[in-house]
Subunit: 225 residues, 8 copies
């Protein structure tokens, strides 16, 4: 329909295809966009899809898969890593999992290798220190945390690679919907931390992927020199 | 003057004397209150005294001592600890020192033993882990941090005693004058952290002292049983 | 499951066991964590459990008790005080009771003696003054208040022990979800007040308990001198 | 000049003359407005006048008096009360005096009887209780407080007359320039409190005066019935 | 029950009885408090009572009347004015009526004469100017407005009596739940405006009543001189 | 220099030339940009120029004129109106003049006729009503107001032309640097009000000019039909 | 009823009739106002009408039409443009459509020609550049955008006509209900942008219409010269 | 001194040495830390050094170089790029240069190749489009913008590499010290943007450098496979 002007060239321009953001669209609009994208040969993927919406989409779009914890819908079959390097994804608590999984599934569907490490918040710092190998072996890290959001600072002080921090809206009271961990991450005394929007696992995965793609391009261009 | 109604009984009621808060008072008013308190036999102490103000007070109030880094003025001579127990005071950065010293000097002038540990912020977590004995040997901890203010959460996950968190206004941009570390500390996922106002080293010291005094009272009352 | 990394040593390290925070977890996740903790011999306790969630947990976890007003679930039988000293808990209004009871039940389940005093807000100050013995006989005070949150300042001016202030989200309009009493408590002109997050009765109880445990440790260490 | 359109009829319409607000005007503009008002026979009064500005005004406007603590300039000689009733003015701390005096001097220059009671903040509640007669004998109360701003709630719970609350910008950190006491006062659990802008002693005095004038008008209209 | 400590002497102390605030209390708690108050001979009145809650209260408390638009429940029969003077109540829009009626019914149940003037917002200023007699004949004015909340400033510039401003949460977007009209009213360039909390029609009525009671007391005391 | 990339075609594209915004640039940078623009035949104009900066510019850029109240510098001689129509500019108070003059001078230098009306704030609504002809004869209105910023709503309810509202930072306390009037204007219940940034007299003038230019273009295109 | 005081002369005064704002009114109140307006010969139009409310209105008010996407109800038949000129309306995303349609339908019902361009957000700037003719042929532009709200700045840099920016509440996390795009638009470095409230498509259309009406009036007045 | 606990191993752990942050430290403290670092063989670099502070440091620390626009002090001689790849740095305006230069100088001193493109804000989008080669040839981009901060969104829609967005405090009014561009960048509808603190050019450079270092490491590890 003329309500959407899908950016079919985005993959060519930026390396990543346009992805449908579910909220504020009717299931019907989402289904129409999905079909239009599939017909143009694009990757088809939508985020923030609640189970009820998936139930309706499923009837209109064939071969649709639902990643329940990540709230992602996609028409894709293989998810073999297509780029060298590993994205390490850490979460501070169990309640941060939907956001962490949004990052993980987006990254995997985009062709990157992911290593997950859940529930390693700073209140029990040994949980992180005991799993330091995940931090050390990753080529780029996504760190997801709600409440006070202190985990990315500690990780960035240990890691020798770029760190992407994702604040979540998990918490209450003076968390103010994720404002608290957002400010924490922006003020990190450990330099080299890039922050994305509250609950934006998707954006973190795109940035992490962009970093690994760049590494690959640089590698290829140097090899050809 | 009738501009001040000093709460001379506060020490009897709450264990701590009234202390003069400098800002918004003229040097003349401060001096008059100091003299009135001294004449009633009270402890005389004022916080947030800039060097210029001290220079003026010095001429009006004899025997006044100035703790420059802590910005505290006091008429006191001995500062031998009068209570059992130790208050451990940690700062995340060098720039947090004025607040950390306000806490330390207030505690010492009130008769408590203090152990200082400066510049152990979470961006280099080994600095804290290598000095873990300070955390472990304290009976109550005051943790001072600006920027993202993550240190108290990490310390509270390691300590087996009450932790008092003091956010500072050190930082810039999205620190919003100390709002960022304040929210961080209030949302700490490590339970058992009490927070005071931004830059309020004084209040943290009074609370820490109150905790050690309570311990002492409880001890005496049990002994007498 | 690998979605949770329970911090089984927290009791050893900090004196308090890890406690499950309900929001953002599925009943299934909560039940699995509870069973894992019980099997490791830990205390099992979860906060912010709505009646509907309790109904589901009850079927999966045997011997679970529900403290309805406090919204707490626990597997525990005896709650005989195990430490000397009393935690006085005050609430400003009737609507603050869920938070005040969260503090009271947490403290009791952790082995501390609690004395409750409800509905003594500052609009009728005689209600507090007539019950001054509760303030005077406590060894540590938790003061719970919503709306303007003025009660802790008044209490701290009367009490000779540490005061922990808990702002609540009770109120409307310019209360901004508890921001108003939170700021009130942080700016208290009565020194020696430690503040916790909005509605965080649990954290207040852990801090109060930590204070009494410290008193006890100090007592034992001195006795052994 | 045409830069100002003095509202000469305001006294007829609302009972109070227009008063010059100093900030953002050049001394020259203030002096011109003063002379224009004096020539029309109006009361001449300006608030928020710093000493330096007064020094310049003095040279241009004859018979100008400066109330230094209140930062008010006026051409007026007699200040005999012209209305029955008393305005009680209370301040929580010494640092609140400039605002409290702005209220007091405005009220006196407008023909009302004022009773002052300074430095009776809630951290030492006995200071207020010992001076309860001021609260009880006033016909309207102005309560000025910074930091946590809890005094008006306590006073309103004791007083049998209207209470006007004035938050001040005295404080630091989470006071956020007076936001904290402003919210406290708006959320007062004691009904019957009207709040004015931060540091607005002037507005509080006009409202208090308006209340006593109304009482007087009602009295006269009833007498004539 | 011991969950509530009704302030039975409040009427003696402040002229107004304690009134029950509905939110956060169970219908059962409200009914118990109502019965306890009725048995002590107090006036019985509760605010913010939704129709569903009223349906439950009605079965437990006999003779309960419900003012639907004002969301107030009360046991009261006569509402003959008991004090001289009139409270004029103005609303800016139709959607502000629940708050304006909360003020009107509270005032009437407390024994004051009320004159209502609805939907006279500043976007059509002639609506106010054509009804200027309401502004001019009132002894105290309550002005209720949402959205930009400009009405009280305009009214205060016309009125020769105290003005109480009530911001409402009516609006959307940058109204931020009533913050916009609240700030407007606090910054009113027309002096003599007292502001209450967002949507607090009840508090405005108590303050207005307090003003008329004071006028009456002053009148009586003068007559007896 | 390569520090600036002047948008020389902006006039062709949008009808208005690029104008230099002074803050954050050194006087040297400003002078270099001015000279580059003059040499390209552009109109040369800079806003937010303090007197001290003007003093330095004057020595480097010949024929520079300074509009002191408006804080604008320009190389321009004639300011004969070049477009039909009148921009009416109103200010609520005297302290709003710098912003109102920034709008007026920008409009005049851009070739538009301006009619000024200062100090007609809503606290004395007759000042506006008595000058209603200014409102009625304008083709577009700019309304400048600080403090509560209510003037644009009242004007928009009277005017039969577009209204541009400019909040100013004039005020104190809960004005929060102009946030209060900004929110007031955005929430205006009188539709048809466009709002610009706090203190942005310049932007208001460009928008007003754009409106008159559009009217003119439409006129010409219709005439040619 | 006396709950509403419809401003029947608004069309005469300002060119636009009063329009009913749905929220906070009962369907019954809306229907009564509609009938009263229709009987006075006014245009009848209501905004923010949910489908359920429309279902009820339809039974009480004959000939009512519902524009579902725009959430507008109206009794109107012809919508032939009555004024020269075109209002171009752009939206950044698909989810912004309800707001963009509120603007479009309001403008059409008020007699203006509208050209729509949906889903041309800045993340794919070519979508805008490829449709530049819409920007260039419009006489006034309404630009609707949520999330970061950058579209109006880019459009205003390209357009040679007035630009009205409408922030929407579409987004999440640090969008804070539309605060982010609101601030973006207010700070636009492209001058000549007027901003309306978050989601206020209605107000944008009234302002755009006002601009075209002014152009027309100016045209007529010049022709008659 | 014991006031600082320099993290000498940071370079080993994270690839970047500790860098001194100037604010809140006395020149004396800065000099002592510099000398200690130099003696340990560390790179010596300090940010946010005002010219007056540099003047004092220069006397205490030999061979110190000052980058005035960037406000950076360093003891370093060669700045030959040591890593493959280019960091493109864009600024929206001339006033953003101090932040953009902080990024550029930090990157160059850390051994990276930098390409600068200043003053290409979105109000004249052709300035960016005409310099598209800078965007296309960079391996990682740093985009610095104040005011509305829209540039990173547009750039990220064009770039095929990671984008780091730096909001600046340049602006006024509703910019709220950089909050506006910060929110804009966090809400970017173009995925793959990592945001750092307001004015934090330093942190952006470290993150960009970290990305190029990772690319290099990945390259080397693959080559060795
Ligand atoms: N979970 C998400 N968070 C943020 N942006 C998203 C998300 N999912 C998709 N997007 C982006 O949203 C845009 C689509 O917006 P729309 O045109 O409204 O569908 C695309 O640019 C996507 O890259
Ligand atoms: N640095 C400080 N921060 C917070 N409160 C303080 C500080 N120094 C003194 N006080 C408290 O401020 C109050 C004195 O306020 P005042 O009456 O204005 O002198 C006393 O209750 C002190 O306990
Ligand atoms: N969607 C809308 N957004 C903002 N204002 C509106 C909207 N619809 C109608 N209005 C205005 O709201 C006012 C009516 O408010 P009320 O008296 O409560 O019906 C009129 O001035 C309308 O011009
Ligand atoms: N301009 C800057 N912005 C943010 N962080 C910085 C800046 N300059 C240095 N740092 C970091 O600040 C920390 C030093 O803090 P301190 O111990 O107070 O000197 C180091 O971790 C640096 O990486
Ligand atoms: Mg966990
Ligand atoms: Mg350091
Ligand atoms: Mg009660
Ligand atoms: Mg005092
Ligand atoms: Mg109406
Ligand atoms: Mg004036
Ligand atoms: Mg789209
Ligand atoms: Mg430029």
């Amino acid at each position: 329909g003329d309500f959407a002007r899908v950016d079919h060239h985005r993959r060519l321009r930026t390396g990543f295809p346009e992805v449908i953001w579910g909220p504020g669209k009717t299931p019907d609009q989402i289904a129409q966009i999905m079909i239009a994208m599939r017909d143009r040969g694009s990757v088809v993927m939508a985020t923030r899809i609640e189970p009820e919406v998936y139930a309706q989409l499923q009837e209109k779009v064939p071969d649709l898969h639902y990643y329940a914890m990540a709230r992602i819908c996609a028409i894709t079959t293989t998810i073999e890593p297509q780029y060298p390097g590993t994205i390490g994804i850490l979460s501070a608590g169990t309640a941060d999992l939907p956001v962490a999984e949004e990052a993980a599934v987006t990254a995997e569907l985009s062709g990157f290798r992911v290593e997950r490490l859940w529930d390693v918040g700073v209140a029990g710092i040994h949980r992180l220190l005991n799993n330091r190998h995940v931090v050390e072996s990753a080529d780029v890290l996504i760190v997801v945390a709600g409440m006070e959001g202190a985990l990315p600072s500690v990780v960035a002080g240990l890691a020798d690679c770029p760190v992407i921090a994702v604040p979540t809206s998990i918490g209450y009271g003076a968390s103010f919907g994720g404002l608290a961990p957002l400010l924490t991450m922006l003020n990190s005394c450990a330099a080299g931390v890039g922050v994305v929007n509250i609950d934006n696992g998707f954006g973190a995965a795109v940035l992490a992927g962009q970093i690994l793609r760049t590494a690959n391009k640089l590698h290829l261009s140097q090899r050809s020199d």
